[in-house]
Symmetry: C3
Subunit: 173 residues, 3 copies
């Protein structure tokens, strides 16, 4: 049986991470937390600490801001991986001036080859009109394309609003 | 029988207020409009007048930008209260540099103790990525947390888009 | 039998145009693409070329940034029109300092009189809080009102997120 790919979408402080963590916990499999956040300032350090506390014990944590594909290829089968989140990964690559198309291609290939279940958290960012700032516009477009690509491959896509899940694809919980 | 708490979420000009007013009207109970908007400029004054006209007669209006918990505790049982909206209340408290956590705690306690039905209107504000501006970021996070807290306690949560309701929690209308 | 009006809502790069094109293709009727975009810079020129390529052959294209009502009145019956998109039309009129209420009234009247099916693409733009900038605020309000007006007249309204449709009104696909 092949591994499952689930995409959990949501806005800022929507409860998407907590919901995704619940899915991983329910899997009953060994839990891996693949974290893309970097503690580059106080606000981020506090957010990371808050999320870690909320997650509780029982997670094996891997911190990786950029090279997700490589890390996913080293994960043993039969586990459940929480990737939190695709938005920071994308943002890190945009700031690093990476080739986004090539990076996305490599990431999606790693998803397809992964023999552990994957729950990917990502932000929905395009619901306030087209930004005037060119970089913000590039980011919104890249995030939209990335979300579409993951959603097309996922067996389940869930949008979280105010902590409440709405199933966009796959079996309703 | 305990009073009902309903949360109506939506974006700018999404029709959330009109939908929430419809819910209150359908309750058949005496209608109270708990308004958080302040006519501090022409645009707001006109918006308040427009909303009042759209609402029509039959409402008892209470205007209160900050002290919602205190006002809710003075409302007699068996009525139906439209709180419009939690977003302005939050924004007023942020500008007043209040202790948001304490204020939220007091508001949620007043919701729990209220023996009139409550329909709370709130904005969904986190669907355009993380703002660069620190205050905007603080606001988006606080609004997300507030919406999650109210949604967790509500028996019904409805997201309004282009005037159309989508039930996120509770019985589908 | 009267012609059908469908509204397809979504954010930036949400897949709303591709989904709407699919609906028109499934109609089996002669396909008209009523385009509001203008190639005023390189980014827009490339976007228009990319969309044209994605759409494929078989479309009769009309390019019109402003006078949609007039164009719709000249379309012969029994076809299926993709209007992409109402957001750019609105934005073009705001920049031209048109009377938005009068233009909207004329557009909605042309929708009602159209004897070809219509699929209208529009952006959902109000989900990031109230913009500080007055023009951005005016735009968000005007877009919200326009979306509500079209949704009220449509037999089907679909919100597209990450390429996935969610039916807000009408028969579920």
């Amino acid at each position: 049986m092949s591994a499952q790919l689930t995409l959990v979408l949501g806005g800022i402080a929507s409860g998407k991470s907590a919901f995704a963590e619940g899915l991983v916990r329910q899997s009953g499999k060994p839990m891996i937390y693949l974290a893309t956040a970097q503690p580059f300032d106080d606000e981020m350090t506090q957010k990371i600490a808050r999320h870690r506390k909320a997650r509780g014990p029982g997670w094996h944590t891997i911190e990786e801001p950029l090279a997700l594909a490589q890390n996913l290829r080293e994960i043993a089968p039969g586990q459940c991986v929480l990737l939190d989140c695709a938005t920071l990964w994308l943002s890190n690559h945009l700031l690093a001036e990476s080739d986004i198309e090539a990076e996305t291609h490599a990431l999606l290939a790693a998803f397809a080859d992964c023999s552990s279940d994957l729950v990917v958290v990502s932000n929905e960012v395009g619901l306030a009109g087209v930004p005037e700032n060119a970089l913000a516009r590039q980011f919104a477009n890249a995030q939209g394309r990335l979300n579409k690509s993951i959603a097309a491959r996922a067996s389940r896509v869930i949008l979280v609003t105010a902590g409440l899940p709405l199933t966009l694809k796959g079996p309703v919980a």
